[in-house]
Subunit: 131 residues, 2 copies
Protein backbone atom coordinates (compact mmCIF):
# COMPACT_ATOMS: atom_id res chain seq x y z
CA UNK A 1 0.00 0.00 0.00
CA UNK A 2 0.90 3.63 -0.44
CA UNK A 3 2.15 5.58 2.54
CA UNK A 4 1.92 9.34 2.56
CA UNK A 5 5.16 11.25 2.51
CA UNK A 6 5.54 14.74 3.83
CA UNK A 7 5.71 17.64 1.38
CA UNK A 8 6.29 21.35 1.89
CA UNK A 9 4.14 22.21 -1.10
CA UNK A 10 1.19 20.26 0.29
CA UNK A 11 1.61 22.03 3.62
CA UNK A 12 1.53 25.38 1.88
CA UNK A 13 -1.61 24.41 -0.05
CA UNK A 14 -3.30 23.32 3.16
CA UNK A 15 -2.23 26.48 4.96
CA UNK A 16 -3.53 28.59 2.10
CA UNK A 17 -6.94 26.95 2.34
CA UNK A 18 -7.11 27.34 6.10
CA UNK A 19 -6.16 30.99 5.86
CA UNK A 20 -8.55 32.21 3.21
CA UNK A 21 -12.31 31.90 3.29
CA UNK A 22 -13.20 32.87 -0.26
CA UNK A 23 -13.31 29.27 -1.53
CA UNK A 24 -10.53 29.68 -4.08
CA UNK A 25 -10.19 27.83 -7.35
CA UNK A 26 -7.17 25.63 -8.02
CA UNK A 27 -5.64 28.45 -10.00
CA UNK A 28 -6.14 30.92 -7.15
CA UNK A 29 -4.47 28.48 -4.75
CA UNK A 30 -1.66 28.11 -7.27
CA UNK A 31 -1.08 31.86 -7.31
CA UNK A 32 -1.05 31.99 -3.51
CA UNK A 33 1.34 29.09 -3.08
CA UNK A 34 3.56 30.50 -5.79
CA UNK A 35 4.50 33.39 -3.52
CA UNK A 36 6.24 30.95 -1.19
CA UNK A 37 7.31 28.42 -3.86
CA UNK A 38 7.93 30.46 -7.00
CA UNK A 39 8.24 27.42 -9.22
CA UNK A 40 5.52 25.22 -7.83
CA UNK A 41 3.63 23.50 -10.61
CA UNK A 42 -0.08 23.83 -11.27
CA UNK A 43 -0.18 20.06 -11.54
CA UNK A 44 1.15 19.78 -8.01
CA UNK A 45 -1.63 22.02 -6.78
CA UNK A 46 -4.31 19.96 -8.51
CA UNK A 47 -2.78 16.68 -7.35
CA UNK A 48 -2.70 17.80 -3.72
CA UNK A 49 -6.11 19.44 -3.74
CA UNK A 50 -7.57 16.18 -4.98
CA UNK A 51 -5.58 14.17 -2.47
CA UNK A 52 -6.67 16.37 0.43
CA UNK A 53 -10.27 16.29 -0.72
CA UNK A 54 -10.18 12.49 -1.00
CA UNK A 55 -8.71 12.32 2.50
CA UNK A 56 -11.56 14.51 3.72
CA UNK A 57 -9.28 17.31 4.91
CA UNK A 58 -10.81 19.84 2.53
CA UNK A 59 -14.03 20.06 0.56
CA UNK A 60 -14.74 20.39 -3.13
CA UNK A 61 -17.38 22.91 -4.18
CA UNK A 62 -19.25 22.78 -7.47
CA UNK A 63 -21.25 25.96 -7.39
CA UNK A 64 -23.03 25.66 -10.69
CA UNK A 65 -20.74 26.97 -13.38
CA UNK A 66 -17.10 27.82 -13.65
CA UNK A 67 -14.11 25.95 -12.29
CA UNK A 68 -14.15 23.86 -9.15
CA UNK A 69 -13.63 25.62 -5.83
CA UNK A 70 -12.13 24.37 -2.59
CA UNK A 71 -13.01 24.92 1.05
CA UNK A 72 -10.67 24.37 3.99
CA UNK A 73 -13.62 24.25 6.35
CA UNK A 74 -14.96 20.69 6.43
CA UNK A 75 -17.71 21.36 8.94
CA UNK A 76 -21.09 20.81 7.26
CA UNK A 77 -22.34 24.21 6.22
CA UNK A 78 -24.20 25.93 3.40
CA UNK A 79 -22.95 28.37 0.82
CA UNK A 80 -24.39 31.45 -0.76
CA UNK A 81 -23.52 32.51 -4.30
CA UNK A 82 -24.07 36.04 -5.53
CA UNK A 83 -25.27 35.93 -9.12
CA UNK A 84 -23.94 39.45 -9.68
CA UNK A 85 -20.34 39.22 -8.56
CA UNK A 86 -20.02 35.44 -8.30
CA UNK A 87 -18.60 35.44 -4.78
CA UNK A 88 -19.13 32.32 -2.69
CA UNK A 89 -19.78 32.97 0.99
CA UNK A 90 -20.37 30.77 4.01
CA UNK A 91 -23.76 30.78 5.70
CA UNK A 92 -23.69 30.41 9.46
CA UNK A 93 -26.79 28.27 9.32
CA UNK A 94 -27.19 24.75 10.65
CA UNK A 95 -27.42 22.04 8.04
CA UNK A 96 -30.97 20.72 8.00
CA UNK A 97 -30.62 16.95 8.23
CA UNK A 98 -34.40 16.65 8.26
CA UNK A 99 -34.14 17.49 4.56
CA UNK A 100 -32.58 14.08 4.05
CA UNK A 101 -35.38 12.39 5.95
CA UNK A 102 -38.01 14.29 3.98
CA UNK A 103 -36.38 13.28 0.72
CA UNK A 104 -35.94 9.71 1.91
CA UNK A 105 -39.72 9.28 1.85
CA UNK A 106 -39.70 9.93 -1.90
CA UNK A 107 -36.78 7.70 -2.77
CA UNK A 108 -36.56 3.94 -3.22
CA UNK A 109 -32.93 3.89 -2.13
CA UNK A 110 -31.06 5.37 0.81
CA UNK A 111 -30.29 9.06 1.14
CA UNK A 112 -27.46 10.08 3.43
CA UNK A 113 -26.62 13.67 2.59
CA UNK A 114 -27.45 16.69 0.50
CA UNK A 115 -25.66 19.66 -0.94
CA UNK A 116 -27.40 23.00 -1.17
CA UNK A 117 -26.31 26.25 -2.74
CA UNK A 118 -28.32 29.38 -2.13
CA UNK A 119 -28.49 31.99 -4.85
CA UNK A 120 -29.25 35.67 -4.75
CA UNK A 121 -27.57 39.07 -4.60
CA UNK A 122 -25.06 39.88 -1.91
CA UNK A 123 -25.19 42.95 0.29
CA UNK A 124 -22.54 44.81 -1.66
CA UNK A 125 -24.13 44.22 -5.04
CA UNK A 126 -27.52 45.21 -3.64
CA UNK A 127 -26.07 48.49 -2.42
CA UNK A 128 -24.33 49.09 -5.74
CA UNK A 129 -27.55 48.57 -7.73
CA UNK A 130 -29.38 51.05 -5.53
CA UNK A 131 -27.25 53.90 -6.82
Amino acid sequence: MKTLKHSRQRDAIMRCLMARHDHPTADAVYLSVKEEFPNVSLGTVYRNLNLLADLGEIRRLNCGSGPERFDGDTHPHYHFICRECGQVADLSMDVLSQMDEAAQAHCGGRIDSHITYFYGVCRDCLAASNN
Copy 2:
Protein backbone atom coordinates in the same frame (compact mmCIF):
# COMPACT_ATOMS: atom_id res chain seq x y z
CA MET B 1 -32.65 42.55 -32.23
CA LYS B 2 -32.48 38.88 -32.91
CA THR B 3 -35.63 36.97 -33.75
CA LEU B 4 -35.76 33.24 -33.31
CA LYS B 5 -36.01 31.18 -36.45
CA HIS B 6 -37.45 27.71 -36.57
CA SER B 7 -35.10 24.75 -36.75
CA ARG B 8 -35.76 21.04 -37.10
CA GLN B 9 -32.66 20.20 -35.13
CA ARG B 10 -33.76 22.33 -32.21
CA ASP B 11 -37.15 20.67 -32.29
CA ALA B 12 -35.53 17.26 -32.15
CA ILE B 13 -33.35 18.32 -29.23
CA MET B 14 -36.38 19.62 -27.37
CA ARG B 15 -38.35 16.46 -28.13
CA CYS B 16 -35.46 14.32 -26.92
CA LEU B 17 -35.40 16.13 -23.59
CA MET B 18 -39.15 15.89 -23.13
CA ALA B 19 -39.10 12.19 -23.90
CA ARG B 20 -36.31 11.00 -21.66
CA HIS B 21 -36.11 11.51 -17.91
CA ASP B 22 -32.54 10.46 -17.23
CA HIS B 23 -31.16 14.00 -17.40
CA PRO B 24 -28.83 13.37 -20.33
CA THR B 25 -25.53 15.09 -21.03
CA ALA B 26 -25.02 17.10 -24.21
CA ASP B 27 -23.26 14.13 -25.72
CA ALA B 28 -26.15 11.79 -24.89
CA VAL B 29 -28.58 14.22 -26.49
CA TYR B 30 -26.28 14.36 -29.49
CA LEU B 31 -26.39 10.58 -29.88
CA SER B 32 -30.18 10.58 -29.61
CA VAL B 33 -30.69 13.36 -32.12
CA LYS B 34 -28.21 11.75 -34.46
CA GLU B 35 -30.62 8.91 -35.08
CA GLU B 36 -32.98 11.33 -36.76
CA PHE B 37 -30.36 13.71 -38.14
CA PRO B 38 -27.34 11.54 -38.90
CA ASN B 39 -25.04 14.47 -39.48
CA VAL B 40 -26.17 16.85 -36.82
CA SER B 41 -23.20 18.58 -35.24
CA LEU B 42 -22.27 18.40 -31.58
CA GLY B 43 -21.86 22.16 -31.68
CA THR B 44 -25.48 22.52 -32.78
CA VAL B 45 -26.58 20.46 -29.81
CA TYR B 46 -24.58 22.60 -27.39
CA ARG B 47 -25.73 25.83 -28.98
CA ASN B 48 -29.39 24.86 -28.75
CA LEU B 49 -29.17 23.38 -25.28
CA ASN B 50 -27.73 26.66 -24.08
CA LEU B 51 -30.31 28.67 -25.98
CA LEU B 52 -33.19 26.62 -24.59
CA ALA B 53 -31.78 26.84 -21.09
CA ASP B 54 -31.37 30.61 -21.37
CA LEU B 55 -34.97 30.85 -22.60
CA GLY B 56 -36.03 28.84 -19.56
CA GLU B 57 -37.47 25.97 -21.61
CA ILE B 58 -35.08 23.43 -20.12
CA ARG B 59 -32.87 23.30 -17.05
CA ARG B 60 -29.15 22.87 -16.58
CA LEU B 61 -27.98 20.45 -13.88
CA ASN B 62 -24.55 20.54 -12.27
CA CYS B 63 -24.59 17.45 -10.12
CA GLY B 64 -21.17 17.70 -8.60
CA SER B 65 -18.72 16.14 -11.02
CA GLY B 66 -18.76 15.14 -14.62
CA PRO B 67 -20.24 16.97 -17.58
CA GLU B 68 -23.31 19.15 -17.41
CA ARG B 69 -26.72 17.49 -17.60
CA PHE B 70 -30.03 18.79 -18.92
CA ASP B 71 -33.60 18.43 -17.76
CA GLY B 72 -36.68 18.94 -19.91
CA ASP B 73 -38.81 19.32 -16.80
CA THR B 74 -38.66 22.94 -15.66
CA HIS B 75 -40.97 22.54 -12.70
CA PRO B 76 -39.03 23.20 -9.49
CA HIS B 77 -38.02 19.82 -8.13
CA TYR B 78 -35.15 18.10 -6.40
CA HIS B 79 -32.75 15.47 -7.70
CA PHE B 80 -31.19 12.41 -6.21
CA ILE B 81 -27.76 11.16 -7.28
CA CYS B 82 -26.64 7.61 -6.64
CA ARG B 83 -22.97 7.61 -5.70
CA GLU B 84 -22.64 4.02 -6.89
CA CYS B 85 -24.01 4.13 -10.42
CA GLY B 86 -24.16 7.89 -10.89
CA GLN B 87 -27.76 7.98 -12.07
CA VAL B 88 -29.68 11.20 -11.54
CA ALA B 89 -33.33 10.74 -10.60
CA ASP B 90 -36.21 13.09 -9.91
CA LEU B 91 -37.64 13.33 -6.43
CA SER B 92 -41.39 13.86 -6.25
CA MET B 93 -40.94 16.16 -3.29
CA ASP B 94 -42.08 19.74 -2.98
CA VAL B 95 -39.35 22.35 -3.07
CA LEU B 96 -39.01 23.86 0.38
CA SER B 97 -39.07 27.61 -0.15
CA GLN B 98 -38.82 28.08 3.61
CA MET B 99 -35.16 27.04 3.13
CA ASP B 100 -34.60 30.36 1.40
CA GLU B 101 -36.22 32.25 4.25
CA ALA B 102 -34.17 30.37 6.82
CA ALA B 103 -30.97 31.15 4.92
CA GLN B 104 -32.03 34.75 4.41
CA ALA B 105 -31.68 35.32 8.14
CA HIS B 106 -27.97 34.49 7.90
CA CYS B 107 -27.21 36.55 4.83
CA GLY B 108 -26.60 40.25 4.43
CA GLY B 109 -27.94 40.23 0.89
CA ARG B 110 -31.07 38.83 -0.70
CA ILE B 111 -31.64 35.13 -1.30
CA ASP B 112 -34.16 34.12 -3.93
CA SER B 113 -33.56 30.46 -4.65
CA HIS B 114 -31.56 27.38 -3.83
CA ILE B 115 -30.38 24.25 -5.56
CA THR B 116 -30.20 20.99 -3.68
CA TYR B 117 -28.86 17.61 -4.70
CA PHE B 118 -29.47 14.60 -2.50
CA TYR B 119 -26.84 11.89 -2.39
CA GLY B 120 -27.04 8.25 -1.43
CA VAL B 121 -27.43 4.78 -2.91
CA CYS B 122 -30.34 3.98 -5.20
CA ARG B 123 -32.65 1.02 -4.78
CA ASP B 124 -30.95 -1.07 -7.46
CA CYS B 125 -27.45 -0.54 -6.12
CA LEU B 126 -28.64 -1.29 -2.59
CA ALA B 127 -30.10 -4.58 -3.78
CA ALA B 128 -26.94 -5.42 -5.72
CA SER B 129 -24.73 -4.84 -2.69
CA ASN B 130 -26.89 -7.12 -0.57
CA ASN B 131 -25.87 -10.14 -2.62
